[in-house]
Symmetry: C2
Subunit: 416 residues, 2 copies
């Protein structure tokens, strides 16, 4: 894509109504547009990153045996009354609305009840299980206050996977596999080394659950990290019993602030039994189904990456989720330089290398500042030097290091 | 994918609460699940078709120069008051909801106002135009009655593109290109030969617009078709003036029922002027911006394909939007047959051929009936015959014709 075709422009000033680093940088660089507090549109650059993160998650969920579907935003009252979650006293983040005939509806803040209700149509035998279903879908939560940019939204994208298993062993086996799969997602998104599988409270479902916490001063959570074991424990279960169950020792832990980017829960039969979602075993006997819930805040993950991978110049996208693979930057007005840059741009397009081409007629300093702000992982500079020496200058956004290469080796490296 | 892994099962009976052919067939075949009237979840098979249709539209919109973004569902009152469309008296399909502090919000039924408001941040110069932006996104419409399955939903997927141009010529040129692009989308979805670019009323924007109407007895529209010119005129402008403007002659036309699958509008300055979205021309003079709106009901398009391409046995998916390229069906319990089918399945996966493999231990009649109902475009049958003769039986779902082929030629044909 030519940068002159990008309708968004970078801004020097931070938006007045934002305090979080992710919202400030993503807005300044033209990735998102705030429609109201906690509600953001994704502009072309932002949508590219979002889709890449979604695809990483999709690949890992498919590898886990997950099947993708998409449930609805509009929710029926009777479905949510079953386990008592329709009442605003029990769930304080509902957006509610009404049909013309005054029938009340809700906007899905999660989808446990809906998917269990749906499965009563399809699951009845041991042969139908285990079953792992997931969706990547928009959630609505009527949060009282939102000031963390895309890290806490009133409208946001989430991946929610639900497991339905026959036995504790089957449940536990999948749960452990999901842990590994989650760490793979966060590694591919460039934050694996500062994200910890964290022993945490199980909320209303069970005594314990696991969260995935990314170290950041912008985080709202406190965790205690065992850096050797690559594990952590959340403050809310940081007591003797918690430590023993998690297999951690107080002396090995350091206190850190962190952002929750994912969580996994064993939900037991809390939803399945009330909906009469049972299965018949091999002997024709009715049995309960164990459910698990596995969430990743997709837009929150994108915001977290910006919080933890950025410098005073702008965003630093990890390779796998960079909006483009290469930022091609031409310098000056020399006809031959422009010709060379145009040719390289066309070659990249032909070779399937995703490229943003800064073809604008502005000074070098502005181009470099914009390129640092947008944060594409690799920058290729075409100026007089490239013309003379046939060597291309490659800058890595993360390390800041500049190397030289020839076109052929560069294409070989980036061609998919 | 192995069919034994597909949690949805086919049903012999039609769901009791559906009257439309598309909802009946898509439900029976396991593509969708009704959550309430006009609100459907997309199950794995349905999601695959939906994504394929979305990708066809995406490719064609990109080819038109469109840039993709995603706007929000939650909508601000002040944005919609500007042109008077917040009021339920003027727009009767709003779903409204409220923030905790009682601030009223709406759920987007379309996005004209929001995108114009957004562009006031980014567009100011003639250099920023023309601009073509689109999204593929969920819309909410509080319809009084819905009984047409996924052809008219309260929650549904739509592609909406908006054009912003400087002059009538620039607008008209894009409008004509969009017409061709739309016909390409409908052709790729298998309904090009029965879909007509139809001269129609311009509603509140202009005197005329164009709809894309697909012939079907299930349609709610009446159009008059000139089969030689491949054009039509909607009943609502079927008068002398309409005929002259459309360049059609009464005697050349036949009356038909049809389904509107897309529409394109010239919106003039109806939205841009009230939002103060202007541009400065080359001479620094303030100028109005002409807007156009271009919609395709994505889920409606999917429903329409089922309405018009199906027989008494089930759905007939056109190749490009078939949930899988091939339905591989093994017959009987012969170990060698199963081994051969397993091998072919693995080969297809390796070669990147999308395959649904009916590996279930059920009788041939049931497999064929299910295969016809699900409607994958090509069926490959592996039974004793395949084992003996090394020839594979290929059945085309659309024509019903059976041919023989060897594995190598088959793979060559279907490999992408």
């Amino acid at each position: 894509m030519r940068q002159s075709d990008l309708f968004t422009k970078t801004r020097k000033e931070a938006p007045k109504d934002e305090v979080s680093k992710n919202a400030i940088l993503l807005t300044r660089a033209g990735f998102i547009n705030k429609e109201m507090a906690g509600v953001y549109s994704y502009l072309p650059l932002g949508l590219k990153v979002l889709k890449k993160i979604e695809n990483i998650i999709r690949e890992e969920m498919n590898a886990l045996g997950g099947k993708e579907l998409v449930l609805t935003s509009l929710q029926r009252k009777d479905v949510w009354e079953k386990v008592g979650r329709w009442d605003d006293k029990n769930v304080d983040v509902w957006f509610k609305t009404k049909l013309k005939d005054n029938v009340e509806l809700g906007l899905g803040f999660t989808h446990d009840e809906q998917i269990v209700n749906l499965l009563t149509e399809y699951v009845s035998s041991y042969k139908d299980l285990p079953l792992y279903l997931y969706q990547i879908q928009t959630k609505f939560r009527n949060e009282l206050r939102v000031k963390s940019g895309i890290m806490r939204g009133r409208e946001f994208v989430m991946k929610d996977l639900y497991s339905f298993t026959r036995t504790e062993e089957e449940q536990d086996e999948f749960y452990e596999k999901a842990k590994k799969s989650y760490m793979k997602v966060f590694s591919r998104c460039g934050i694996g080394d500062i994200t910890f599988c964290t022993f945490a409270s199980g909320g209303t479902f069970s005594k314990y659950s696991h969260e995935f916490q990314t170290l950041s001063l912008a985080g709202e959570d406190i965790i205690y990290v065992d850096e050797k074991k690559n594990l952590a424990i959340n403050k809310d279960v940081f007591d003797e019993e918690g430590l023993v169950t998690a297999g951690l020792k107080r002396d090995d832990l350091v206190e850190r602030k962190s952002i929750e980017v994912g969580n996994i829960f064993k939900q037991g039969t809390k939803y399945t039994d009330p909906f009469n979602l049972y299965y018949q075993d091999e002997n024709g006997k009715k049995q309960s189904i164990l459910m698990g819930g596995y969430g990743i805040g997709v837009t929150r993950l994108m915001g977290t990456v910006v919080e933890v991978l950025s410098d005073d110049k702008g965003i630093i996208w990890p390779e796998e989720i960079s909006p483009f693979q290469v930022h091609l930057v031409s310098l000056g007005n020399d006809e031959n330089v422009i010709k060379l840059a145009d040719e390289i741009y066309k070659t990249f397009q032909k070779e399937g290398i995703e490229v943003l081409y800064d073809d604008r007629n502005v000074r070098a300093g502005e181009k470099f500042a914009d390129s640092d702000l947008i944060g594409i992982s690799t920058r290729l500079v075409i100026g007089d030097k490239a013309l003379e020496s046939k060597k291309l200058e490659v800058k890595d956004r993360s390390s800041g290091q500049t190397t030289e290469t020839d076109l052929k080796s560069f294409i070989k490296k980036f061609k998919k």
